[in-house]
């Protein structure tokens, strides 16, 4: 028998000045199943809560409704109170008669009171259908996975490992290092990127708690916070890692040629290669697309094989195949980084067809001492030193028409850095920078920008470039100086476009694999823009670095550290509490059609086989089953289920129907 107690809060005058609380209490007193109904000044105060506890005892209440503020405010307060009174905390409902009533209907006291009564009745109708629910527990696998081996991933892994937890770094290319390894110098200190990165790479590779899984892809993520089962595809390297000594003989002898991605295709690399000399692991892979042997095999032949012949360790293994394995983790850090915008969508910049119009990352390789030009700044077309360089900022950034609406945050600084590098390397070269705004919020950033202009004599022109076209060997850059209000035309030898930072092209797919959100641009969505910047909406999955949005190295490293702390906090627990407001499927009603499996965003539903007696026989059939640890309680399955076998605890069909009916009863 339901015995409901109703407690109407005045919230001082917040509710009481508009809603006639005494009348609400009185009306509810006569409502079915209500055995006790009172109003009080402040229900959330200690005396208010005591009122509930005493009433539960005195009136033998088994359900409680509090009409006060938003449940988003005080639901937990009153649940705790009800629990202290000896009831299950879920035998409680709240009617929001403040935010949804008194505050928004000032001066309409009569209507607001009628509405408060409706809301209270709905809460009573619902609470009568409430069931006792208990929080569950799930164990924690004390090991983390970091997806992506750039600076974000390396830093997060080191921080987790240094706290004593096992962590794996999953990297899709043959080496860790990421974009930072491609960069020449870092702003604003102009220290060598590789010099500060490589020690961290070495530390990660030699750390006893860190395992590197390179040249591997994330295939599937199943499970839930504390218990992820991750399927990994380790791509065939065609080199036996246990035998290879990394001597590099194979690379020098290989006759195959391919575009060198690490050097932005500015030169060729062999088909058996490490991406760069300091690669970790420093053992090569065969790029089967450009390997003569593998290419010839497609035509039914089998040629070359030089690398195997020259390898002193016998490490070359042409027959190696992709390996798929499943690992278990308690937490996952996504650190998949960014990609560079392709400026070839811009007609005014020549649709990418002029060889001397290059991107910022191209320039990093051009100016790098270990790059294709040995650090000599030359034009890609004729390898001559440029005498005039024009840089264009916001290429693809802040341009919803052709690119992205957001600011890529790093371009102002890296353009300034590149300008100073040009002036350092080629003191006679003139550098112009076209900009929309100069954004330099960061420690030492604005000072750096000022030095770029004042000490390095880089000329900043505020305005957009309207056209770049080839004029003989040179490029004509036309634009507007919007401060002087006149057109500008510069005869340049080379143009560097500060291309925007964009998500990896498969970011959306990756987000779907791990089950996290992504925004319209493809950046992974954090749980809260301010208060949950490294968390995602999926418990146990965290974000580090530019996969969440454009970021420079200092911010990336800071965020990686933050993500690592969250991971350590999670891994330090032996058990996790789970919310009981999850979906449940009644196997007796379930027909096993499996449509709910597809709509569940958490992969919490699976089909399992049960045995049943039917017509004198034991038969086995499939029914859907919810893993309560995975289910987050959205309810998508409940609507998909035609036979109502799926129901959501605390928001059951019966509860919602009771609320609807209670509301409508007062019509007429």
């Amino acid at each position: 028998m339901e015995r409901v107690g109703v407690f109407v809060c005045h919230c001082g005058s917040n509710i009481g000045s508009v809603v006639d609380c005494a009348k609400v209490a009185e009306e509810l007193r006569n409502y079915p199943n209500v055995v006790h109904s009172v109003d009080y000044k402040y229900m959330c105060s200690e005396p208010g809560q005591n009122l509930i506890k005493e009433a539960v005892k005195e009136h033998n209440l088994n359900r409680v409704v509090v009409c006060s503020c938003s449940p988003r405010m005080h639901e937990n307060t009153f649940r705790a109170c009800v629990a202290q009174a000896g009831l299950n905390p879920y035998m409680f409902e709240m009617a929001n008669i403040r935010e949804h009533c008194s505050w928004v209907h000032a001066g309409h006291n009569e209507e607001a009171t009628a509405k408060a009564i409706d809301l209270a009745k709905m809460a009573v109708a619902k609470v009568c259908k409430n069931k006792e629910l208990k929080k569950g527990h799930s164990p924690v696998t004390k090991r983390a996975l970091v997806v992506g081996g750039g600076i974000a991933g390396i830093q997060a892994a080191l921080d987790i490992a240094n706290n004593g937890y096992q962590v794996d770094i999953l990297e899709r290319t043959p080496s860790i290092g990421g974009k930072m390894a491609q960069i020449d110098k870092t702003f604003p200190t102009i220290d060598c990127s590789a010099c500060i990165l490589t020690p961290r790479m070495v530390e990660a590779s030699s750390h006893p708690n860190i395992k590197l899984i390179t040249f591997a892809e994330l295939e599937k993520v199943e499970g839930y916070v504390g218990n992820f089962d991750v399927t990994i595809r380790s791509k065939a390297r065609s080199v036996d890692m246990s035998k290879c000594t990394g001597c590099g003989t194979c690379m020098t002898k290989c006759p195959g040629k391919a575009d060198d991605e690490f050097n932005m295709n500015l030169q060729k690399r062999p088909a058996i290669y490490t991406p760069f000399p300091q690669a970790i692991p420093n053992k090569p892979v065969i790029d089967r697309e450009s390997c003569l042997k593998f290419k010839s095999r497609k035509d039914g032949k089998d040629v070359c094989g030089i690398c195997a012949k020259v390898c002193p360790a016998g490490a070359i293994d042409y027959e190696q195949e992709d390996e798929i394995f499943v690992e278990h983790y308690g937490a996952i850090v996504m650190a998949t980084g960014y990609d560079q915008f392709d400026h070839s969508v811009y007609g005014e910049y020549g649709y990418g067809k002029y060889p001397d119009v290059i991107s910022g990352l191209h320039f990093e390789r051009l100016v790098n001492a270990s790059g294709p030009t040995m650090g000599h700044i030359v034009r890609p077309s004729d390898h001559k030193e440029p005498k005039t360089v024009v840089m264009v900022k916001c290429v693809g950034s802040r341009d919803p028409e052709h690119g992205k609406s957001y600011c890529s945050r790093t371009c102002c600084m890296y353009s300034a850095k590149q300008a100073t590098l040009i002036r350092d390397h080629c003191p006679d070269t003139k550098v112009y920078i076209f900009y929309m705004d100069v954004r330099t919020p960061g420690k030492g950033y604005d000072e750096f920008y000022n030095r770029t202009r004042e000490e390095y004599g880089v000329e900043y022109i505020r305005g957009r470039v309207s056209k770049i076209y080839q004029d003989g060997e040179q490029l004509i850059v036309k634009g507007e100086d919007s401060l002087l209000g006149r057109p500008v035309e510069i005869l340049a030898d080379m143009v560097i476009l500060a291309d925007a930072m964009i998500p990896q092209n498969d970011a959306a797919k990756m987000a779907q694999i791990v089950g996290i959100g992504y925004d319209n641009d493809g950046w992974f969505t954090e749980a809260h823009a301010k208060l949950g910047p490294v968390e995602t909406h999926t418990a146990g999955i965290f974000l580090a670095g530019a996969c969440q949005g454009p970021k420079d190295i200092p911010d990336t490293v800071a965020q990686a550290g933050a993500a690592a702390v969250k991971v350590c906090g999670l891994l330090s627990k032996d058990q996790l509490e789970t919310d009981p407001c999850t979906s449940e499927i009644d196997p007796a009603l379930c027909a096993g059609c499996g449509h709910c499996v597809g709509v569940c965003p958490y992969k919490a539903i699976s089909l399992e086989t049960i045995e049943e007696r039917k017509a004198g026989k034991t038969i086995s059939r499939q029914v859907a089953k919810v893993n309560a640890s995975l289910c987050q309680g959205c309810g998508a399955c409940t609507v998909t289920c035609r036979s109502s076998a799926a129901n959501l605890n605390h928001f059951t069909n019966a509860q919602i129907l009771a609320e609807v009916d209670a509301l409508c009863q007062t019509i007429l």
Binding site: L589, A591, K614, N653
Partner: protein, 292 residues
């Protein structure tokens, strides 16, 4: 048709004699000329009962559900719509395709037995058959005869559009009138290959979804709910219309759902295959946006 009937009998006989099947599901002649009913044939002699005439409209695939836990080897004759129903049941995991032998029969279209019962002289094809775009089996282990030309190439929504053109009040009156006739016998549900739940919510008396009251409002709750449940899953066989004793135009609801789903999310003809997700079981981030 007689030729096909001979062929069907021959095939059934072979299957039973070879032991490839222990039961064959087909059609037999009923008491009246326009009555043809489903039949289970278990012996070679009985195969003479099998008929193939212009009243074989009943969709046989639903009978397979009864054999899921049986040891019998079942073969079934299937028109285009029966095979779509078969796929429907496979997709809903109610049956496993490999358990059954499906013998496809291209269908020239079946006559409207309700018209025939009224004594109409020149009995037209059933409405669903007139509008049929898939008269040939879309799945079969073997198919008899030659494929026929579909009687329609695109769905005919003129009847739906006629309703859509009405005012809100006219629509409400029309449907209230129609559903006031409904006696909630659930024949439409029972015959429907898409209504294949083991426990229908309308049989769950304690579910709270619906009272036992029979009135226009409750009947419409049933009608709308059923249309929503089969939306994107209906294989357009028109059996519901054919079995309704009160002549409620049930397909008119189902066709509306299909028209809108196709228009909103791209054309999807249910039961052509078993791999894709149903329209309401998937989404596209670029779906039409009307709710901003």
């Amino acid at each position: 048709m007689l030729e096909m009937q001979q062929e069907m009998r021959k095939v059934a006989k072979e299957l039973l004699e070879s032991g490839e099947a222990t039961v064959v599901i087909g059609w037999e002649k009923g008491a009246l000329p326009y009555q043809t009913s489903p039949v289970l044939i278990r012996s070679a002699e009985e195969t003479e009962k099998l008929v193939w005439d212009e009243y074989c409209q009943q969709n046989l695939s639903n009978y397979l559900i009864d054999f899921v836990y049986s040891d019998e080897k079942v073969a079934i004759f299937a028109k285009g719509c029966d095979t779509r129903a078969f796929n429907r049941l496979v997709q809903d995991k109610r049956i496993k395709a490999e358990q059954f032998t499906v013998i496809g029969v291209p269908c020239p279209g079946m006559k409207d037995r309700k018209q025939a019962a009224k004594g109409v002289a020149d009995v037209p094809l059933a409405k669903a058959c007139q509008e049929c775009r898939y008269p040939n089996p879309v799945y079969a282990n073997r198919t008899l005869g030659q494929p026929v030309t579909p009687r329609a190439t695109a769905p005919d929504y003129s009847d739906v559009e006629a309703i859509e053109a009405m005012s809100a009040d006219e629509k409400a009156k029309f449907w209230q009138e129609q559903y006031s006739k409904c006696i909630r016998c659930y024949a439409c549900r029972n015959v429907c290959p898409a209504c294949n739940c083991t426990n229908c919510i309308f049989d769950q008396s304690k579910s709270g979804w619906q009272s036992k009251d029979i009135n226009a409002s409750e009947n419409q709750f049933y009608g709308i709910t059923r249309a929503f449940h089969v939306a994107g899953r209906c294989i357009e066989c028109g059996q519901c219309d054919m079995v309704c004793p009160s002549d409620v135009p049930i397909m008119l609801m189902n066709k509306k759902a299909k028209k809108d789903l196709d228009q909103l999310f791209g054309q999807y003809d249910a039961g052509l295959e078993t791999e894709s997700l149903i329209p309401l079981g998937r989404y596209d981030v670029n779906d039409p946006e009307e709710f901003m």
